[in-house]
Structures are given as structure tokens and as C-alpha cells.
């Protein structure tokens, strides 16, 4: 049992940190950036993506012996799309305001490269439990970057954290201003670029090649 646990831990660490989807595998940031203006949307998006990644890994891995290899992509897409529909309906039912703000980006989880990439590379070759953990790990790795970007954008762009103002008034009185650019599209690109730089400079992380 102990070896089992350390095995899952290994998969988790690999997904969350060492092969972090956004920075190292350069996958999946398509749908990530547009929802990072605020923490609340980014957090809901992260949870949705992590759940879809975990359950698509579980389902595809359970079916892997019955999926003919020449139509596997379409089968994987069907499984992922069905899970996204369920997620979207749940969000519409319980978190209607946030689901309106996420607009089309929940639907775009279908084409998120992380999910299809993990289904192809991991779930088709490993058992369901491992694939479930791998999905959670990759989802968490993605969430980490997404929430970090959203934190910086919300803090620097509108001086808020989850909608509460956190920059003290005396700083504004001294002439501090919110950076408008952070709320707009270029801010997300700059923050991602700088985060990748930071991550590459930390020890123990494999560097990507040019």
C-alpha cells in the first residue's frame, strides 16, 4: 500500500511541478488567459478543467482496450465533450453569474491541448486509477499558473483580491495608480512570459529548448 501511495505522489509531483503543463509542455494556455482578469473566474475555470481532466483520464483509460486505434481521437473528443457539457450545465445551474462571465471559455476546454494530450499520452497507456491521478495533477499544475496570473492581474490591474480592494488608500493618495494594461490582453502575455522566466531560473526544473 505504501508503495502505491508513493507511486501516486510521483505522478502528482510530475504533473504539478516538474512537467508543469503551461510552462514546460507549452500546452493549454489557449483558453487560460482570457479568464484571468479576476480571481473568481480563474478559480472556477481551474476547478472545471481539473475535474474534466481527471474524469476524462478515468473514462478513456477504462475504455482503452476497446477503442480502435484509428478512431481513438474522435472517441477521446466525444468523451471530453460530453464531460464539458455536464460541467457547463452544472455551472449554469449553480453559478450562473460566473458561467456568464466565463462565456465561451468553458466550451473551449474541449480543445484544450492538456486534456487531449494527457488522454493520448497517458490515459491510453495506463490504468484508470493512475490516469485519474495524472488528470488531477495536470489540472492542478494548470490551475497554479492560471491562479497566479489572475492574482497578479487583479492585484496590479484593479487593486483587488477576489473583488475586495486590498491596496490601502494612502498609497493612492501618494500617487499610486492601478496599471490599466494588466486588465487588457497584453498584460496576460507579459505575466506569462515573466512567470516562465522565473520558473526557468529556479533550480530543479527541466529547461525547454528553443
Amino acid at each position: 500500500m505504501h508503495t502505491d501511495l508513493s507511486h501516486y505522489k510521483e505522478i502528482l509531483i510530475k504533473g504539478v511541478w516538474r512537467e508543469n503543463p503551461v510552462a514546460y509542455q507549452v500546452l493549454g494556455i489557449c483558453s487560460a488567459l482570457a479568464v484571468t482578469v479576476k480571481m473568481s473566474t480563474a478559480l472556477v475555470m481551474s476547478i472545471a478543467l481539473t475535474l474534466v481532466a481527471a474524469f476524462s483520464g478515468l473514462i478513456i483509460s477504462s475504455l482503452r482496450h476497446w477503442i480502435p486505434s484509428n478512431i481513438r481521437i474522435i472517441v477521446e473528443l466525444t468523451v471530453i465533450a460530453s464531460l464539458v457539457i455536464v460541467t457547463d450545465q452544472i455551472l449554469k445551474a449553480f453559478l450562473y453569474d460566473i458561467s456568464k462571465q466565463l462565456s465561451i471559455f468553458v466550451g473551449l476546454i474541449i480543445t484544450n491541448c492538456i486534456i487531449l494530450g494527457r488522454a493520448e499520452a497517458f490515459a491510453m497507456a495506463n490504468n484508470p486509477a493512475d490516469s485519474f491521478v495524472d488528470g488531477i495533477a495536470n489540472g492542478l499544475g494548470y490551475s497554479m499558473i492560471l491562479v497566479a496570473v489572475a492574482f497578479l492581474r487583479e492585484l496590479l490591474g484593479s487593486g483587488q483580491f477576489f473583488g475586495f480592494s486590498v491596496i490601502p488608500q494612502f498609497l493612492y493618495d501618494m500617487g499610486f495608480q492601478d496599471m490599466g494594461i494588466m486588465v487588457l490582453a497584453p498584460g496576460a502575455f507579459f505575466i506569462i512570459g515573466l512567470l516562465v522566466w522565473l520558473k526557468n531560473s529556479l533550480p530543479g526544473v527541466s529547461h525547454e529548448k528553443k
Binding site: 494556455i29 465533450a81 466550451g107
Partner: protein
């Protein structure tokens, strides 16, 4: 006519699908190494978007929208929740068909474009355009113009990126920033220049 022109300009520059909505970044980074391949992929995206956007419009408004099945005797049917799975299937099918047609009639074009076509099926920009088209309640003609405009904007962005990457190939970038991070910074600067168009009204 003026409305359509304004929609086109808007989707190419101000609401650029790549630089303002971050759609299609995967292939934007992977395929912007040389100008030739970027141009090839750009044309493929324009073509596929101009076809898939109106086809998905027809399917959505003919079958899935609330009340669309009134002709079949189901006036209260609302299948709009099926749009994700339908759109992705339509896109995959159209991309496959386009690939086969090009392969049959123009081997030359297939040689330069063929490798990119399978990539396009899972490009977020394609699905994103179809979903935006539904969310913004475009009419049929608008969906054609919006598809073509989004594709043109995407191509403009990826070809400019390829050209910039060619120019900075020998630039002395700090070690950790080199590669992906540097491309993101360039994309950010490009997004800033594209924002300057936002004052334009036609």
C-alpha cells in the same frame, strides 16, 4: 454593407481572435518558426473558418436552438446544450473533407498545407469562432464575414510573429527567458499595437 465591413475590421484588428481573446496560441507558437509555414497555416485557418462558421450557424439555427425543431413537431425542444459536441464533430468532419478534396485535386497545395490540416481540427480559434457566433447572435451573412475576419486576423498575427522571430533569431536574450517566455513578451507587445486600432469606427 457598412455594418458588415465594420464587423470584418473589428474581427481582424480590435477583437483579434489571437491577441485579444488568446485563441489558437498552441499552433501560434508551434508553427511561427518560418514565414512560409506560418502563411500556409494562416490560409488553411482562413479557409476552414470561413466554411465552418456558416455551416455551424445553419446547424445551430436549424436543429439545436430553442424552438428550432418546431417544423418536426417539437416546438418546445431546446437542444442548445449539444452545441459543443456538435460543433467539434462538424469541424473535424469538414477538416477531414477539405483535406481529402485538396489531396485529390491539388497535390501541390496538399504538399504545403496538408500537414497543418489535422492540427486545425483541435485549434481553439475554430471552435471559439463558432461559439462566439452563437453567443453574439450573428445572422447567417454575419457569420460568414465573422469567420473570414477572424481567420484573417489570426493569419495576420501569426505571419507577423514569424517575421519578428526571424529578425530576433540572433538577439541576445537572457538564458531563462529565451524561447517560450520571449515569444510571450513579443506577443504582448503585438497585442499592444493591435489595441491602437480600437479607436477606429467605420
Amino acid at each position: 454593407m457598412g455594418d458588415l465591413l465594420s464587423l470584418f475590421v473589428n474581427s481582424v484588428f480590435i477583437g483579434n481572435i489571437l491577441l485579444a481573446y488568446f485563441l489558437g496560441i498552441c499552433s501560434f507558437i508551434a508553427v511561427s518558426k518560418t514565414i512560409e509555414t506560418a502563411t500556409g497555416l494562416g490560409f488553411a485557418v482562413i479557409f476552414v473558418l470561413t466554411v465552418t462558421s456558416p455551416v455551424n450557424w445553419l446547424i445551430y439555427h436549424g436543429l439545436l436552438a430553442p424552438g428550432a425543431l418546431a417544423w418536426a413537431g417539437f416546438p418546445e425542444m431546446d437542444l442548445s446544450f449539444l452545441k459543443f459536441i456538435t460543433f467539434i464533430a462538424v469541424i473535424a468532419a469538414i477538416v477531414q473533407a477539405v483535406e481529402m478534396v485538396i489531396d485529390r485535386y491539388s497535390p501541390l497545395l496538399y504538399a504545403s498545407l496538408g500537414v497543418f490540416l489535422p492540427l486545425i481540427a483541435v485549434n481553439c480559434a475554430i471552435l471559439g469562432t463558432s461559439l462566439f457566433m452563437v453567443e453574439r447572435n450573428h445572422t447567417f451573412i454575419e457569420s460568414v464575414v465573422f469567420g473570414a475576419g477572424s481567420g484573417t486576423g489570426w493569419m495576420l498575427a501569426i505571419v507577423s510573429m514569424a517575421a519578428i522571430r526571424k529578425k530576433v533569431r540572433y538577439a541576445d536574450v537572457p538564458a531563462g527567458l529565451d524561447g517560450f517566455g520571449f515569444i510571450m513578451i513579443i506577443a504582448g507587445l503585438m497585442a499592444m499595437t493591435f489595441m491602437m486600432f480600437s479607436g477606429i469606427t467605420l
